[in-house]
Amino acid sequence: MKPSRAGWLFAAPALLAIAVFFVVPVVAALVMSATDFDIYALADLRNTRFVGLGNYFQLLQTPLFWRALLNTLFFVVVGVPLSIAVSLGTALLLHSRLARFTGFFRTALFAPVVTTLAAVAVVWIFLLHARYGTLNYALSWLGLRPVDWLGDPRWAMPAIVLLSVWKNFGYNMIILLAGLQAIPAELYEAAQLDGAGPGAAFRHVTVPALAPMLLMVSILTMAGHFQIFAEPYVMTQGGPAERTVTVLYLMYENGFKWWSLGSASAVAFVLFLFMLGTSLLQGRLAGRAGWSS
């Protein structure tokens, strides 16, 4: 038996699983996105019409799709940097030699990641309440006017970003903390000998050493953020005035609420193209900056 054939044979079970659980459904979804598959088609397949790119054209003409795309992009553009900054900040604090009770804080800061979103949402709805919310109470101390976080179309998405950052920063924090701990202390000592202060050491030692990890974290966080669904689903159900309808939420509504699986599949492929594009771009930019290892 040729070695290459043996290799294929060993890989076969995994490849088969990928084919059955990934390739087949994706191809089926692609075919479905070219039909008007819906509740009537479920009753009788002869009620399906082939529409070609019709679902895609229809989508591009739907204002709600653009609204959803805009909302999702806002969430990505604001949420990803903020989330990574908070993760990095807390990781640095935990890593600092001055930090006390790091074990406790590490657990406490990681806790939101492992709590159930549905439970967290109930608490946050109260925190963000326009009249009794803690957040507005804090704002009033600063002399600011109360914000109707979940009711004002301008503030609903920022509120979702806030919740999401709080809920998810712990995960990246742990990864970055591991990265920080892997940086040899000698590098900092050498930097100190060369006369670098804490700021310069951060810029010239920490950031370059952490770069591959930051790239990975940012790609994963970006991919996750593009697929935001649960937060608006539990907090606002897409409201107010459709300002928290995201692309995935739109897909969910089309597919599972209205059973328009054809157009829902089209949404999924558009989202896929967007994510593929940004991930490639990210990799390209990182490569140019010499970040990827």
Partner: protein
Amino acid sequence: MSPEPARRRAASSEPSWSRRDFLRAAATATVGLAAASACTARGDDRVLRFWAMGREGEVATQLLGAFERENPGLRVRVEQLPWSAAHEKLLTAFAGDATPDLAQMGNTWLPELVALGALEPLDASVRGSREVDVADYDPGILDTNVIDERRYGVPWYVDTRLLFYRRDLLAQAGYDAPPRDWDEWVRMLVAVKQRVGPERYALLLPLNEYEPMVALWLQQGEPLLRDGGRFGNFRSPGFARTLRFYLSMYERHLAPPVAHNEIANLWNEFARGFFTFYVSGPWQLGEFERRLPPELQSYWTTAPLPGPTGPGASIAGGSSLAIFRRSPRKVAAWKLVEFFSRPAVQQQFYRLTGNLPARRSAWADPGLAQDPRAQAFRDQLERVRPVPKVPEWERIATELRLMMEKVVRGDIPAADAPAELDARADRILEKRRWMLDRRAHG
């Protein structure tokens, strides 16, 4: 199908078993066994599979002892679904050929399952029944089960929307009886608003609910969709009146422009007097009793929904019992439907769940007959109308809700709303029109 052929074949070819023979026999046997076990699950004539939602499922189990005693040899397996997943489960069960024998079904879901061809028409069973007496049901409720002149369900319990209000706050504003028509209602709302000031409101009309507005539109006596459910009817005079009335609530600051998640706790706000009137359904009877403080219990009550000129119509809701077309046990399933339709069983069901009985005679139950809050529902049920019986209705109603939210928030001028809503409804109904045309020609 049975595993017999496989076994015979295996026995006869015993002396010269090739590997291929063995594999084939094994494969046939496995398939045969699987089919046989599926047959015991589906083919056992003595076990009825009944799907019920949430609390209703729990309670149905408690009531079934009597049914099983009356029908020796017949057993019922109640499978409880959470309400949030029930709709999806019904559709996937249909797609996967795993529908139960009978199920509880929201009255507004029937059109969708009828479009799938999943339900068995019950006209003959109802006509031949000594237990189910259609004269003992509210016509508006019965109507929800009739699609294309065929009956697909028997109402189990009923639900509609009407006014919940604070009697004390209304009295302080100078009125000691609930409103009967729109003008009177508006006068009361204005009076309440003047008393409670800018921080509180007269009416809660959440922006994430379309039911109150649909109820007001049903009062106009015109169809909500045109041409047998082929087109939207938003550019009608009735919708224009409803729209004006509805929007005036927000324009005059009688209702706060909020959704439910901004209210956070409805009962606390009602107790605080944040609003005096609220349009809701019978499930709130129990909730208000449980959640409002004791000192407030004598101050809240219910009243039928006021109409443009006197008591108005409202939405015919609730749940029915429906039998699936693929069920091999339709006769037994119908027996269970009849059992649940008995007035005495309906009363028992009411006492356990608080769900209002569909049988009018079951309302003789002292708990209902002597409760003025429930009696307002009794009165309203005489004037209920079904929403359009097309599978697309909920989606169209959701478009209405989203549009109203945008109009109230000032994103879209009210004058543009009817035409835009019609455009959206017509687009949603496109497939339905194609289906109907094809059926007419084929």
